[in-house]
Amino acid sequence: MIKNITNLGDAALYCDFGNEIDQETNLNVIKYFKNLKELKIEGIINITPSYNKLIISFDQSVIKYENLKNKIVDLKLHNKENQNNKLIKVPMCIDEEFSLDIKRLSEKLKVKHDQIYNSFFNKEYYCYMTGFIAGMPFLGDTKENIRLNRLETPRVKVPKGSIGITEQFCNIYTYESPGGWNIIGNTPVKIFDQSNQENPTLINPGDKVTFYKISKKEYQNYNE
């Protein structure tokens, strides 16, 4: 449940669900998000779920902070956290052209390349949130033997489709973008598609994700 609500500026509520980052906390955030989305409270213009926070921005000419806060506190929740969640299998090529940081990971973690991939592929991930850039899924948790901090100096350009890991998380770059995650492969799958405005994102909060290895040839010939 929400531990504390404060204001973020004069036009947003900052709902804190606690310091822990785990699926239980996150499922709570998603439950609030889905309930609020359905309720369509007048004045709300955006709801941003993340690991353990929910930010609700609103139009001040329609509703004020205190009023909206009271509505959120009094919110009656319906059980929605497990609805429509999917398992998505994502193909991934680990050719050296794509695995930009495997050497760094291997050296810093003192774990061999194939052991890193073994750990990475043998895990089902959970999608905590999507964002930063359109459709980018934040997945977790990776096995403990492959956890490392982000790059000291972020890359100016991470190629589209890159799959990166950092700490206990994994994500997929839906566009070429700046970024500091350790890149270990690339997927030919379109994770975000603006031409499909109804369902632009392949992976949504609460979904499960697994990765499977494909060859470079399969990568090049991949057709959706």
Partner: protein, 316 residues
């Protein structure tokens, strides 16, 4: 088939379609975008007789040169902008902001520059033909979202127009946006992550708008704001106006094309009533921050809205 369009003879520096922005898509990573200077957008649309969900062309520093083909339109420019109209008979007319003018088949409008400000706007009656994405015309070039494949305009491109036949009526108002002296802010959710000296510097020292400023964010330079707690937080939602301070101690103010999620501590948030004028600050401008409480910020926003309404009411 409607064959009326503007041909782009020079695209300008960062010319895009913008409207009031995109709502309710944060959860998939799509920010609001939309015009940087909302008041100037509202004034322009009112002048040419448009409703508020019609796209304008927003430009930064240098605007486009546009040549009208097979149409006659009522147009207006807002902001602090120098522009001229090149008529087919070779006459050159000096343009005036905040008043309507007519463009005829073959006429060109040359938007030369914005003055002591960043953004300006070009409006036509009826608006431009473009596809909406999540009910908005706004182009976010960083995320490649919106019409024109999410890209800024290029040379020789055609911008098709709706070509609404309307009788020309001269409409004008006297308006000049005031300069901003202090950027008023509310304390951010991580305000206490920073050293006493850092917090003190933030509210007393001068900062300079850096060249690394675009529709996504404004980087400012000044005394470094030292973090004494933790320079990374768990990534969480962002909104425009949030001031994040990364490990290097240099604040970044999130602007309309912000990333929806960020992991740097938030020292403060710019109040809504000061946002338009903040975005008009050019690189090299000196700014100071002033702390206000929530109630004051809400009252200032009310005032901002009353002012906007009274300006719009002058347009008859």
């Amino acid at each position: 088939m409607n064959k009326s369009y503007f041909e782009i003879l020079r695209p300008g520096i960062n010319s895009t379609f913008q409207d009031l922005g995109r709502f309710n898509q944060h959860h998939i990573g799509i920010p609001m975008s939309g015009v940087m200077d909302k008041r100037n957008y509202l004034i322009g649309n009112k002048l040419v007789g448009n409703s508020n969900n019609i796209s304008a062309i927003e430009f930064a520093y240098q605007g486009p040169i546009l040549k009208l083909k097979s149409a006659k339109v009522i147009a207006a420019v807002t902001g602090n902008v120098t522009f001229q109209i090149l008529r087919t008979n070779s006459n050159i007319e000096k343009g005036k902001c905040y008043e309507t003018f007519e463009l005829n088949d073959g006429d060109q409008i040359d938007i030369i520059s914005t003055n002591k400000s960043v953004y300006g706007y070009f409006f036509i009656n009826g608006g431009f033909k473009a596809e909406t994405f999540w009910e908005s015309f706004s182009i976010n070039t960083r995320a490649k979202i919106g019409p024109n494949e999410g890209a800024k305009f290029g040379i020789n491109q055609k911008l098709f127009i709706k070509n609404k036949e309307n009788k020309f009526q001269k409409k004008r108002i006297e308006y000049l946006s005031s300069k901003i002296e202090f950027i008023r802010v509310l304390k951010g959710t991580n305000f206490n992550y920073f050293s006493e000296e850092g917090k003190n510097n933030f509210f007393t020292k001068e900062f300079v708008v850096s060249k690394l400023t675009d529709r996504m964010g404004m980087r400012i330079e000044g005394p470094k704001i030292k973090n004494i707690f933790e320079s990374n937080i768990r990534s969480e939602g962002l909104i425009k106006g949030v001031i994040q301070v990364p490990g290097d101690g240099n604040p970044i103010i999130m602007l309309s094309d912000y990333g929806t999620i960020g992991g740097y501590p938030k020292i403060a948030v710019v109040i809504s009533s000061d946002y338009d004028r903040l975005t008009q600050l050019t690189p090299g401008s000196k700014i100071k921050f002033k702390s206000v409480e929530l109630e004051e910020a809400e009252n200032l926003y009310k005032l901002y809205e009353i002012e906007t309404k009274s300006i719009l009411n002058q347009i008859k």
